[in-house]
């Protein structure tokens, strides 16, 4: 347990180290998610446009 606490403390620099890693990994994960949803949106819009054209 104390090993884990020591690990998290990172020699007293824990706040800096973990915020650097956490924000980076979070940002990259969010980028992945936003790209996939952009894909989904593009697909939906293209299908909707095609459907509208077929009607008109």
């Amino acid at each position: 347990m104390s090993g884990l606490m020591e690990f998290l403390a990172m020699g007293g620099r824990g706040a800096y180290v973990w915020s650097a890693f956490a924000i980076s990994l979070l940002a990259l994960a969010l980028e992945g998610r936003s790209v996939m949803s952009r894909n989904a949106r593009a697909r939906r819009d293209a299908i909707a446009r095609a459907a509208a054209e077929r009607v008109s």
Binding site: F7, M10, G11, G12, R13, Y16, V17, S19, A20, F21, I23, S24, L25, A27, L28, E31, G32, V35, M36, R38, N39, R41, A42, R43, D45, A46, I47, R49, A50, E53
Partner: protein, 244 residues
């Protein structure tokens, strides 16, 4: 496979689609391995203690920020020179990823700088030129998004990206040309590395992880751009029906 066949948007869309998931899985595995080695296995630094570990995200992010800009400028130039739409779309896909890595490099650099050298930010050559890189990315994105005609947007973006590529060598050589706060290169092509073996391993793993993520994100974004721009083409209808 002839690489030039990827210049056709439908072919690119199909091939890239198969690559995205494996690349993200690779990024995840490499990232976990890199973090385990970097945070657990690698010893603490003699001078900087534990805070140095931030370099395992800071350095790969900075490397990617420069690499992606050069790639973006190169693809934009190819798109402009050969009138190849797919190359220009790839350049547009690269820009947000590059901007994100630049922002991360600046953020993690600040996290590292504060405990180690006492400053979140200094106006030394490397930090300033990295900040300029972020502005160059944002300028590129703003310009291409503001031009309604795709061909004009592609060509204008290419010109702007090429003009800005001068900044990348400045970032890279800034620690050689100016003797200010940011530390010099720990890894060069010619001299032996000044990092320990486990540190090198962690750095290598994290770099590969960032590469894999970047390629996956860029390919996925490029696919979205292809659908946005060419979605009304006949080939797109077949693809979209097949998925929907």
């Amino acid at each position: 496979m002839a690489w030039t066949s990827l210049a056709s948007p439908p072919r690119f869309h199909a091939v890239a689609g198969r690559l995205v998931a494996p690349l993200w899985i690779a990024a995840l595995l490499l990232g976990v391995a890199g973090l385990v080695v970097g945070l657990g296995v690698a010893p603490s630094d003699a001078v900087q203690g534990e805070a140095y570990r931030i370099l395992f995200v800071h350095v790969p992010a900075a490397w990617m920020s420069m690499l992606v800009y050069v790639a973006m400028a190169a693809w934009a130039a190819i798109g402009w020179a050969f009138n190849a739409r797919m190359a220009s779309m790839l350049a547009r896909a690269l820009a947000p990823t590059g901007a994100l890595f630049t922002a991360l490099a600046l953020w993690t650099g600040a996290c590292w700088g504060r405990p180690t050298w006492g400053a979140w930010w200094v106006w030394d050559a490397r930090l300033t030129s990295e900040l300029l890189l972020l502005l160059l990315y944002l300028g590129f994105i703003a310009l291409v998004e503001s031009i309604p005609d795709p061909r004009r947007a592609d060509a204008s973006g290419a010109l702007l990206a090429i003009v800005g590529v001068v900044n990348v060598p400045v970032i890279y050589f800034s620690v050689v040309w100016w003797n200010t706060l940011h530390q010099g290169a720990s890894l060069t092509l010619t001299a032996a590395p000044r990092l320990g073996a486990s540190m090198l391993a962690a750095l290598g793993l994290m770099t590969l992880a960032f590469w894999a993520h970047a390629i996956a994100a860029v390919l996925a974004r490029a696919r979205a751009i292809v659908i946005e721009r060419e979605g009304s083409q006949p080939w797109a209808a077949a693809v979209l029906e097949g998925r929907a």
